[in-house]
Point group: C2
Chain length 94, copies 2
């Protein structure tokens, strides 16, 4: 059980990394959007999301499958649109 | 546009961190499950998920809201159950 406890602590640490990365990601996307606001009204870029997803899945070495990773990242993209105040209902699902 | 390019590169780097963290997390959870297999048949621990979620949201400093972070982590938990071959349909939604 001590081993389980130690592994759980590692999971907590990884959770915290993911938390920080998700927030850092949202802050970056917000900056990009602010810069884009100045040059165009093209807020949402589905091609960019597809490209990101391709890159991510290409780099994936498991144990999670490409489908699983894609599933999680699509959810991250969706929440990010929500964060930016963009309704994803109107948008194509990437 | 160069600034946008630089920010996009940073997003790619954060994506890669998230990718690595998700896989590291899945590998740890798999180890915990293997240890648990030896001591009990209690594979899924909804209380542990709730505890993790509470910890994560408590540590959240934004810009994503607690609800958004919770939403993403619930999705990560769901995909992890899938990875472990546990149907989440039978399980309570955390």
């Amino acid at each position: 059980m001590e081993k389980i406890q130690a592994l759980r602590q590692q999971v907590d640490e990884v959770n915290e990394h993911i938390l920080q990365s998700l927030n850092a990601r949202a802050a970056l996307i917000k900056q990009i959007r602010e810069l884009k606001d100045k040059v165009s009204s093209d807020y949402f870029d589905p091609e960019r999301e597809e490209e990101m997803l391709r890159n991510i899945i290409e780099k994936n070495e498991g144990p999670l499958s490409g489908k699983m990773i894609g599933d999680i990242f699509n959810h991250i993209f969706k929440v990010n649109l929500e964060f930016m105040g963009i309704s994803h209902e109107k948008l194509p699902l990437v």
